[in-house]
C-alpha cells in the first residue's frame, strides 16, 4: 500500500503510464516522412542581389546644374529605383526557370531576392544559371555552367556572390 492504494493497482497504473509513454516514443519518429520522391535530387536556386542602376544615371547639363541649389549640384542624376534582376536556370538545355525579380523595399531600391527549390532526377546534368542585373533589354551579364552528377537526395545550392563575380554551385 502506498497512500492507501494497493500494489496491484499501482502496477496497473504503471502499465498504463508506460504504455502511454511508449506511444509517445513510437510516434516521435515513426512513420517516417519523405520530403522528396526516391531517386530525385534538389536544386536550390537562391540569391539576394541588387541590380546596377549606374547606367540609368544621366549627366546633368550646365543649365540643369545652375537651376539646382548649390549644395545639390551633383553632376550625375541617378534614379533611386533599381531595375529588376532577370534570372534564368537551364538544366540540360531546357529552361527550368525564368523570372524578372523586382527590387525590394518601398522605394524599390533594395536588392532583388530569390529562393526556389526544384526537383530533378539524380544523375548527370548540365546546369546553367544566368542573370541580368543591368537595365538592358537582351542578354545576360552573368552566366555559369557546370556539369554535375547528382546522387539521390543531393542538395545542390546555386547562389550568387557579387564579390567573387558570379554563381557558386555546391
Amino acid at each position: 500500500m502506498i497512500d492507501g492504494v494497493s500494489f496491484p493497482r499501482i502496477i496497473g497504473m504503471l502499465v498504463f503510464t508506460v504504455a502511454l509513454s511508449a506511444l509517445a516514443a513510437v510516434f516521435d519518429d515513426w512513420p517516417r516522412y519523405s520530403r522528396i520522391p526516391d531517386g530525385m535530387a534538389v536544386l536550390k536556386f537562391s540569391f539576394t542581389h541588387g541590380s546596377d542602376r549606374s547606367s540609368l544615371c544621366k549627366r546633368r547639363s550646365r543649365e540643369e546644374l545652375q537651376k539646382l541649389p548649390p549644395n545639390k549640384r551633383v553632376p550625375l542624376d541617378c534614379p533611386r529605383e533599381r531595375p529588376p534582376v532577370v534570372t534564368e536556370l537551364e538544366v540540360n538545355g531546357e529552361q527550368l526557370f525564368f523570372k524578372s525579380l523586382p527590387p525590394s523595399g518601398i522605394a524599390k531600391d533594395g536588392p532583388s531576392r530569390l529562393y526556389e527549390r526544384f526537383l530533378v532526377p539524380a544523375g548527370d546534368h548540365t546546369i546553367t544559371a544566368r542573370m541580368r542585373d543591368t537595365p538592358r533589354e537582351e542578354g545576360f551579364d552573368y552566366e555559369s555552367t557546370r556539369r554535375v552528377t547528382l546522387v539521390p537526395g543531393q542538395n545542390l545550392s546555386i547562389d550568387f556572390r557579387h564579390e567573387t563575380g558570379g554563381f557558386v554551385m555546391n
Binding site: 497512500d3 492504494v5 496497473g12 497504473m13 509513454s21 517516417r32 537562391s46
Partner: protein, 528 residues
C-alpha cells in the same frame, strides 16, 4: 452553428465519459488522470524543465560540436544524460497530448464560456508557446531531423512578408551556415519555455485553489513510467546534419510537427490553418455566449463577514471587504460579478442559509437571485409532496450529474454544494422523506471544480458548515456520477432503497425530530 457546436460537445462528452470510466477502474476516482490534466501538464513541464537544465550543462553550444556532444552523452553517458534526454523528449510529447485532451475536455464539459472565457482564452498562447518550444528544441540537435526542421521552418517563416532576406538562406549550404543564428535559437529555446511558464501562471489566475500538483503517487507513477520507457526506447539522433544532402526520409515527431509535410508543399495553407484555428478557438467562448445567470447577491443584514463563502468560492469571485454598514462586524463579503458563475456554492456555505426559519421569505447572507434559498425550500417541499410509497427518497442533485436525469423526485441545483447542510437535516427531521440522496458530478470532474470536495467535507464534519451529527447518516446517500453513468446512480439508489426498507420504522427514539415548533426553529438559528 449553435446546434452543431452543442451536439459536438455532447458527443465529445460521451466519449470522454466512457474513457474516464475506464481510467476510474485503473486509477480510481481520486487519481484519475482525466480529473487532473492541468496538474499533470504542470508536472510534465517541471520534468521537461529539470531535464532541460541538466542537458544544457553537458551540451556544447558551438554549432560544430553540437551533434558530437549529444551523441557522446546519449551513448557514453546513457545512464544519466541519455535518460535525461529521453525524459526531456517524452515528457514534452506527453505535454502535447495532455494539452489537447485538456482543451477538448474543457470544451466537452462546457467549461469555457461565460466567466470561464479567461482560462480558455489564455490557453491559446499556451498552445503556441508549447509548439514553439518543441520546434526550437528539435532544431538544436543538429541532426537530420534538425536540418529538416530548420529548412522547413525557415521556408514557412519566409512565406510571411516579414523578413527582408529569406532566412531559409541560412541553410542553403554548409559554407554559409551562421552560428549567430544558432545562438539565437538556443536563446529562443530557453526564453520561450519561460514565457510559457508565465502564461501557464496567468492561465489559472481566475480560479481559486487551482490544482497544479498531481497527487504524489500519480506523480511518482508518471516519473517511473517515463524512466522505464527512456531506458527501453531511448531518444536518439538521426545522423548528423549535412546541408548538401536532403534529410529524406526523416522520422518526424508527430506530436510537434504534424503540419510540417503540409508546410513543405503549401506554406500558405499552413498559415491559413493556424490563423483560422487560432481565431476559432479564440471565439469559441462567444459561439454562442453562455446566457449569464444573475451573479450571487449579498444581503448585509444576514452577513456577519465570517468568510466561509469566500473560502469556498471556486472562482475567486468573492472578497472580504471592510464593513460598510453599522452592524458590529469588521467585514462583509463583496461579489465580483465578472467572475461569478452562479454556482451557489457560497449560498450553501453561509451559516445564515437555514431552511428552518418559519418566515415565508428566507433571507441569507449571500444568495442566488435566480434560485434563492426561499425557492430552494419551496421546491423541496413541492418535490416531497410528490413522494409516494415507501420508502420516500428525495434526490438533491447537481444539474450536471447523473442524479439530475433520475425520473423520481429530484431537486436540481447548479451544484450539489449549493445545498446548505441544514437543508438535508430539514428534509429528514421534518419527515419530508425517509431518505435523502445527494448526487453530484463524478469526483474527477466536478463541474464547479470544488463542489464535490466541499460537500463531502461538510457531511464528514471537516468543513464549515457541518451537517449536524444528529442527522441519521444511514438515511443519507452520496453518489458521484456523471450523466452517462446513470447505471452507477441507479445501482446505488436501489441498494439505498433496500437498506432504507430494512431500517426500523420511525421509532421515535429522537433521531428523527417531529416538526419543530417555532422556538426550536429559533434555537436552530443560534446553533448554526
Amino acid at each position: 452553428m449553435e446546434a452543431v457546436i452543442s451536439s459536438l460537445r455532447s458527443g465529445l462528452r460521451r466519449i470522454f465519459e466512457s474513457a474516464e470510466g475506464l481510467l476510474d477502474k485503473i486509477f480510481g476516482p481520486k487519481l484519475n488522470p482525466f480529473g487532473q490534466l492541468g496538474a499533470i501538464g504542470y508536472f510534465l513541464y517541471w520534468i521537461v524543465a529539470a531535464s532541460g537544465i541538466y542537458l544544457f550543462a553537458v551540451y556544447d553550444t558551438g554549432l560544430e560540436n553540437t551533434y558530437e556532444s549529444i551523441e557522446w552523452y546519449t551513448y557514453d553517458h546513457w545512464y544519466h544524460a541519455g535518460v535525461m534526454r529521453s525524459l526531456h523528449r517524452y515528457a514534452s510529447d506527453l505535454m502535447v497530448v495532455m494539452m489537447l485532451v485538456h482543451l477538448a475536455r474543457e470544451f466537452a464539459l462546457d467549461r469555457y464560456r461565460g466567466v470561464r472565457w479567461f482560462s480558455w482564452f489564455t490557453g491559446i498562447p499556451v498552445i503556441w508557446m508549447v509548439y514553439i518550444s518543441g520546434i526550437t528544441g528539435y532544431w538544436l540537435i543538429w541532426d537530420k531531423l534538425a536540418q529538416y526542421v530548420a529548412v522547413t521552418s525557415t521556408e514557412l517563416l519566409d512565406w510571411l512578408p516579414i523578413f527582408g532576406e529569406p532566412i531559409a538562406r541560412n541553410y542553403l549550404s554548409g559554407g554559409v551556415l551562421s552560428s549567430r543564428f544558432f545562438t539565437l535559437l538556443i536563446f529562443l529555446h530557453v526564453a520561450v519555455p519561460l514565457i510559457l511558464l508565465f502564461i501557464m501562471w496567468v492561465h489559472i489566475q481566475r480560479i481559486s485553489r487551482p490544482k497544479v500538483n498531481p497527487p504524489r503517487l500519480l506523480a511518482g507513477v508518471i516519473v517511473v513510467g517515463l524512466v522505464i520507457v527512456s531506458l527501453w526506447q531511448p531518444a536518439l539522433s538521426q545522423g548528423p546534419a549535412d546541408l548538401t544532402q536532403e534529410p529524406s526520409p526523416v522520422g518526424l515527431d508527430w506530436f510537434y510537427l504534424p503540419l510540417y509535410p503540409l508546410a513543405d508543399s503549401n506554406p500558405g495553407l499552413v498559415w491559413l490553418f493556424l490563423a483560422v484555428a487560432t481565431l476559432l478557438i479564440g471565439l469559441m467562448p462567444w459561439l454562442p455566449p453562455l446566457k449569464k445567470p444573475k451573479p450571487a447577491a449579498v444581503d448585509l443584514a444576514h452577513c456577519n463577514g465570517c468568510g466561509r463563502c469566500v473560502d469556498d468560492c471556486p472562482y475567486e469571485a468573492l472578497i472580504l471587504a471592510p464593513r460598510s454598514d453599522d452592524l458590529p462586524y469588521s467585514h462583509e463579503v463583496a461579489v465580483n460579478a465578472s467572475k461569478c458563475v452562479s454556482c451557489g456554492i457560497c449560498m450553501g456555505a453561509c451559516p445564515s442559509s437555514t431552511p428552518f426559519r418559519r418566515t415565508a421569505e428566507l433571507a441569507t447572507g449571500i444568495d442566488i437571485p435566480d434560485l434563492p434559498l426561499t425557492e430552494v425550500r419551496g421546491r423541496v417541499q413541492e418535490v416531497a409532496e410528490t413522494l409516494t410509497g415507501a420508502p420516500r427518497v428525495l434526490v438533491i442533485a447537481c444539474t450536471h450529474s447523473a442524479g439530475a436525469r433520475h425520473d423520481g423526485a429530484v431537486l436540481a441545483l447548479p451544484c450539489v454544494a449549493m445545498a446548505p447542510p441544514p437543508l438535508i437535516d430539514y428534509v429528514l427531521s421534518r419527515d419530508l422523506a425517509d431518505g435523502v440522496v445527494v448526487a453530484g458530478c463524478a469526483e474527477r470532474s466536478c463541474h464547479n471544480r470544488l463542489g464535490v470536495d466541499w460537500t463531502k467535507q461538510r457531511i464528514a464534519g471537516e468543513r464549515d458548515p457541518y451537517l449536524r451529527k444528529r442527522v441519521p447518516r444511514e438515511r443519507l446517500l452520496t453518489v458521484w456520477a456523471s450523466p452517462t453513468e446513470g447505471r452507477v446512480f441507479r445501482r446505488e439508489l436501489a441498494d439505498f432503497v433496500d437498506r432504507l426498507k430494512a431500517l426500523p420504522a420511525d421509532d421515535g427514539s429522537g433521531t428523527r425530530m417531529p416538526p419543530a415548533p417555532s422556538s426550536a426553529g429559533a434555537a436552530e438559528e443560534k446553533a448554526l
